[in-house]
């Protein structure tokens, strides 16, 4: 593995020492209908999702990318200036292969409102939209964003307008929340507790309080202590309004969940070469496996490989050589460059160790690594480079 003579070795090759199947990104982009990018916060999920979507579109597919919380400049470069839930075509995409790329940013409150408006009679819908519990639930419940991302995915899928949907998942505290939250919200909204609350509410608002106060006894008293009577009334009215318009939230959540496990869906787990991020990735891979969800593979984003031609030069030798030069007070540039190399090797060694820990626990998980870049990605060219790196082609201008 040598570079051409006379040409600077500008192509550091990420070569995993453990034999791990590479993730065949182009095959995935060619055949799948839904790709879900997940991983813990700060690993570059949104960028990876956008890069995959762009690459698929330029290879000829009709693609829509659903992003949750893109960095401002990345959003601008994709024409995502408004959070309005409407997929819009991204300008500047090479359409010569017949594909196109649309992008949209999820507005969870609006998505929830749309469900309400689509399924309820106008007066009932208005009542629900004004309910304080609904307003809180739709804008701040930790699981709503995940649920609405799934809901929107289901909607986009149902239109049949695109042959590939790439989903970026919400920046949850833990990657696992993404899988759990929709079911949790669905289970809650359809659960025993709410049925208890619901029964009296159906009989009328005033009756409800009486029933809670007397009929439900201890239960009602405690619940009132926890959340307060007013909140209980709001919740109860909320559920009553909800139930008349679409029975079985749980069923709905399960349908969305099944869509994720259906043929044509692939999960891509994204991680940074950091212990915490890879630990999360590990949990997520195991969880997908136990749920029978289709895992395509792991992307380790922003790695710092050592240039292949310099791999033989160890940390110890570099530092000793730098010392020698410093003692003779000559060649300060060379001494500094040797120190840079030593630091780079140390970093790469740690990243290799972390990756090997993952691959030895998950030997069957295909893997691809993307080099760290000098700056953030905020244009389509940058996304193209990341896409090329994902597909195993090379990217220049890394960061140290």
């Amino acid at each position: 593995m040598s570079t051409t003579q006379g040409q600077p070795a500008q192509r550091p090759l990420p070569v995993p020492p453990v034999p791990v199947a590479p993730l065949d990104v182009d095959a995935m982009l060619d055949s799948e209908k839904i790709i879900v990018c997940c991983g813990s916060g700060g690993v570059g999920k949104t960028t990876i999702a956008a890069a995959l979507a762009l690459r698929a579109a330029e290879q000829g597919r009709q693609v829509v990318v659903l992003t949750i919380d893109p960095a401002r400049r990345l959003a601008q470069s994709m024409g995502l200036s408004e959070l309005d839930n409407i997929p819009r075509e991204v300008a500047g995409v090479d359409r010569s292969a017949g594909g196109r790329l649309d992008a949209m940013m999820l507005d969870m409150k609006r998505t929830f409102d749309e469900i309400v408006l689509a399924h309820a009679a106008p007066d009932r819908a208005q009542q629900l939209l004004e309910n304080p519990f609904y307003q809180s639930l739709s804008s701040s419940f930790a699981g709503t964003q995940e649920y609405m991302a799934m809901e929107k995915l289901g909607q986009l899928d149902a239109t049949g307008d695109w042959d590939l949907i790439v989903v970026d998942t919400p920046p949850t505290r833990s990657a696992l929340d993404f899988l759990d939250a929709p079911t949790r919200l669905g289970a809650f909204l359809d659960g025993r507790l709410l049925r208890l609350l619901l029964a009296p509410a159906k009989a009328g608002g005033k009756m409800y309080l009486k029933v809670v106060g007397v009929g439900l006894g201890m239960f009602g008293k405690i619940l009132t202590k926890i959340v307060g009577a007013q909140l209980l009334t709001d919740v109860s009215q909320f559920v009553a309004a909800l139930e008349t318009m679409f029975g079985g939230f749980r069923q709905r959540a399960e349908q969305t969940y099944q869509l994720l496990g259906a043929p044509g869906t692939s999960f891509v787990v994204v991680a940074a070469p950091e212990a915490a991020a890879l630990r999360e990735a590990s949990y997520f891979v195991d969880r997908l496996d136990s749920d029978g969800m289709p895992l395509a593979g792991l992307v380790i984003n922003r790695v710092h490989p050592v240039c292949s031609a310099a791999r033989g030069l160890t940390v110890e030798r570099s530092l000793a050589a730098a010392e020698t030069l410093a003692e003779h007070a000559g060649h300060p540039l060379t001494a500094a460059v040797l120190r840079v190399h030593a630091e780079r090797v140390r970093l790469a060694t740690r990243e290799n160790r972390l990756r090997e820990r993952f691959t030895s626990a998950h030997p069957d998980t295909p893997l691809v690594e993307v080099d760290a870049l000098a700056g953030d990605i905020h244009d389509l060219d940058g996304l193209r480079d990341v896409g090329a790196a994902l597909a195993g082609e090379k990217v220049l201008h890394q960061a140290g």
């Binding site: 006379g6 960095a71 949790r184 202590k225 307060g228 991020a277 031609a309 500094a336």
Partner: protein, 349 residues
Amino acid sequence: MAEPGTVVGVTSQDTLPPGATRGPWSCRLHVVTGKGGTGKTTVAGALAVALATGGRRVLLTEVEGRQQIAQLFDTPPLPYAERKVASAPGGGEVFALAIDAEEALLEYLEMFYNLRRAGRALGKIGAIDFATTIAPGVRDVLLTGKVKEAVNRPDATRPGGRSYDAVVLDAPPTGRIARFLNVSAEVAGLAKMGPIRTQADSVMAVMRSAATVVHFVTLLEEMPMQETVDGVAEVRTAGLAVGGVIVNMIRQPLLAADDIERASADELDLEELVAGMKEAGIQAGVELVGALATEAAQHARRVRLEVAERAEVERLGRPVYELPLVADGVDVGVIYRFADLLRKQRMVG
């Protein structure tokens, strides 16, 4: 153009003693936030050790159910109980607590209503799940309520009369921090009165008092910096005091200033490198020298990026503390080294 560092809505800071808004931070509650991947938990741990140094007792708390503190200090997962995880120089002690919303609720019910067993029964029908997870904002009230309790817990046997001299909260990420801390506003639409509202308001009183300060951990990269700028503004708008900005994972510039320029333009003198390597006793061909120059160029670009982002940090107008990138990864030894660095930079007194 409005200066991003302009003080907006920080009336609570006006009541602080002179100098208290610039550090060293001697307040009782230190909230540490940062974008994912910035090393927020590491910094929170180092700050706890730094605060404990010299014989103080400090509680380090986490609220996201990820057992990050246990991993940081290399201890078994923390139960819902305060455990000593580290000693600090000079007889200091760091205790840790992983706060769980459900346990906090049961504790709250027991403390105020003597209802622990009934609470357990409620758990079976999903009422606890409802109260802690589903009812928006309630969860955050419970988590911050437990932090508040630890901050205020009396202990007559200790100097100062409190169980802990300081509490460090490893808080949710920058994107959610203002909403998480601003619990009164979060439950305002939901509960106009009642126990949740009362608890939220009393938590808020502590958060907005001179006892509390919010520190931000960031990297010299575009996205973490953008989130920090946004987070600082949101925290100020919520009426909370912004403390220091801890810049983590800083690369030490290993090349001289003019070599940084040349390297990032791919214009390093390769012949000089060949000669230097020969002098150092390493036979280096074009390939090796080219590879080294590439690594130097990447290092130089990173350093230049950090210089540009550092200007952004300065514009926040907050005291800045710096921690280096640890190439070998963070272990317990690094926490102590970082604690020492934070003390040397006078983040804590």
